[in-house]
């Protein structure tokens, strides 16, 4: 940290107090509470919580539905990340050539960032609807072949496409910014050596994007764990047969519909550890190892 300029005075606690109070009440306390619930079990007729050690975790981890949820969350995370980043990278590389219409292309790709997840889910539910949307056409050819509410793989495909659609803009913004921060002199030197634009994309721009690439990889995976609730809730509702019961969605339904606070808390703790591990990897390894400037 840099040199401070003012001596400590009564102003400092006043300036810090609001943020610390809010964080304590709505961040640290709930996180601690989740820990407490995860290791205790509420008694059925009142009488408080009793300590049960790792019992809640054992129960969660031996539940086949939970592993189903983990499996589909991982599939969702990887598939949306690959799709969204692949598309964002391609578009960013070509938008960065700054041909005529550059601004139009850029706005056209950025705006989906502002669309709320449940709105994305609802729009895609219409698009994928077997009776009304684009797929009703398929169903006139092969009746009953496409139905999200019947076939698990179709429901998973649908949330993956909706999730990827929502993520493209974010990755695009970062890729484009990284591309634009590549020094002009490098590009010009490569051009003088005879590298044509496509060659420069592969041998100059892509390698220089590595730090951004890994940063986005972690952010996208983390987001897919946490940001998927709205899409799942309006698009599939976790079904059919729990095929799209992503981890956050399961925490919500177990906690608020099943009133199983201890089980939901144990799941929250597992998810917290996962998200923290990913963030840690990002700060600790990726930021340090992949650095060119």
């Amino acid at each position: 940290m840099r040199r401070a300029h003012f001596k400590f005075s009564w102003i400092v606690p006043l300036l810090l107090a609001p943020q610390l109070l809010v964080i304590f009440t709505f961040f640290y306390w709930p996180s601690a509470q989740a820990l407490y619930w995860a290791f205790t079990l509420e008694q059925p007729w009142g009488g408080g919580n009793t300590w049960v050690g790792f019992e809640n975790f054992r129960k969660v981890l031996s539940d086949p539905y939970y592993w189903g949820s983990v499996r589909v969350s991982v599939i969702y995370a990887l598939a949306t990340t690959v799709l969204a980043m692949g598309m964002a990278l391609t578009l960013a590389l070509f938008v960065d050539r700054q041909l005529a219409g550059y601004r139009v292309w850029r706005v056209g790709i950025i705006w989906p960032y502002a669309v709320a997840a449940p709105a994305v889910g609802l729009a895609f539910q219409f698009v994928f609807n077997p009776g009304a949307g684009i797929f009703s056409f398929i169903n006139t050819l092969a009746p009953g072949w496409w139905d999200l509410s019947k076939y698990p793989w179709q429901a998973v495909t649908a949330i993956v496409i909706a999730g990827a659609w929502k993520q493209v803009a974010y990755s695009f913004i970062f890729f484009l910014a990284a591309l634009q921060s590549i020094p002009r002199s490098l590009t010009e030197a490569a051009a003088m050596d005879g590298a044509r634009p496509l060659r420069r994309m592969l041998d100059l721009q892509l390698p220089l994007l590595t730090p951004t690439f890994f940063f986005l990889l972690v952010i996208n995976i983390t987001d897919s764990f946490t940001d998927s609730f709205g899409i799942v809730d309006t698009l599939t509702g976790g079904g059919p047969f729990r095929a799209t019961d992503l981890m956050v969605y399961k925490i919500y339904s177990d906690g608020f519909r099943g009133f199983d606070y201890s089980g939901a808390a144990a799941q929250s703790i597992i998810l917290m550890c996962l998200v923290m591990a990913l963030t840690f990897i990002q700060f600790r390894y990726i930021e340090r190892r992949v650095h060119y400037t």
Partner: protein, 309 residues
């Protein structure tokens, strides 16, 4: 640098056009659905061109979902989050960057860690806190024996209660409780040259005057960037308002209303799904944040890249 690459230029435009079509198709279809009536929307070959029912559909969807009050609520919450976050971020970062005191690093990390766990991950216990925002303090007082002490000394039973369910405060405060903006501000404050601070101090400015007269005017772009990001973030909240607000008529937000519009067996009672109304409502709900992102594009992009989430 001038290069002649006619073939590649055409290819570039083709690829970009293709990408843009992929992005636009779902929203275009939603828009088209919102311009047709019930029969046309549910007829088998999907419509690709708009009809003439947009205005009637919008009016009906608006009335059906009672969007008037909900738009007001969404704006109140979004603006509350924007103002709260910017204020907190600014003063916290100011204290952390410009003052020397013990525990500076500890407090910095305590705030930094909040970036790690989004609200969705700790949703169940946060909800419990919102049911009584003073419960943490009550528990602490019970544990440390302060309640017992007060009880024996004055005979007053200590029971703190502040229910945040169904209130704007309950919608806003937990959304403010992260460090996103604090880091944007910290990074900005770190770029302020030492000479500027020295000059201000020589002219007799105290810390608060320095903050108000020099730092805040300098951080206008910061404010614009943060405001855009936070507005979109708050407007698009779904899970939290879904839980905290049970009194939808008075405190419902527009995005949450979408959950009632999913045309499934529950809402239509086995009848024909009212896609045209659902899509009209979706368009209305999406519009404000999209407009803000497009209008504030420059600041928004810069802010997003600097906060790194």
């Amino acid at each position: 640098m001038i290069e002649r690459t006619p073939v590649l230029n055409i290819a570039t435009h083709v690829i970009l056009a293709f990408g843009l079509v992929l992005i636009l198709v779902p929203i275009w279809l939603a828009f088209v659905a919102a311009t047709h009536d019930l029969q046309a929307v549910n007829s088998a070959p999907v419509e690709f061109w708009p009809g003439d029912q947009l205005i009637p559909n919008l009016t009906e969807a608006w009335a059906q979902s009672d969007f008037g009050q909900k738009f007001v609520n969404s704006f109140i919450v979004a603006i509350g989050v924007v103002v709260g976050k910017i204020t907190l971020a600014c003063i916290t970062a100011f204290a952390l960057v410009f003052f020397q005191f013990r525990g500076r690093v500890v407090i910095f990390w305590a705030i930094f860690i909040t970036l790690m766990l989004p609200l969705e991950v700790r949703i169940v216990p946060t909800y419990a806190v919102a049911a009584n925002a003073l419960s943490p303090f009550q528990t602490i007082m019970d544990w440390t024996g302060i309640s017992w002490l007060l009880n024996t000394l004055s005979g007053v039973e200590v029971s703190l209660e502040w229910n945040l369910l169904n209130s704007y405060t309950g919608l806003i405060l937990p959304l403010v409780a992260t460090a996103t903006g604090t880091f944007l501000y910290r990074q900005f404050f770190l770029t302020i040259p030492d000479e500027l601070v020295e000059a201000a101090r020589m002219d007799g400015a105290g810390p608060l005057r320095f903050l108000w007269d020099i730092l805040i005017p300098l951080s206008k772009t910061n404010i614009a960037a943060l405001a855009t990001i936070m507005f979109v973030y708050a407007w698009n909240q779904y899970l939290w308002p879904l839980l905290v607000v049970t009194d939808r008529a008075n405190y419902g937000m527009v995005v949450v209303q979408l959950s009632d519009l999913v045309p499934d067996q529950l809402t239509t009672g086995g009848g024909t799904p009212t896609w045209h109304l659902a899509m009209a409502a979706t368009l209305v709900v999406m519009l404000p944040p999209i407009l803000i992102v497009i209008l504030m594009q420059r600041w928004f992009v810069r802010g997003l890249i600097n906060t790194d989430k």
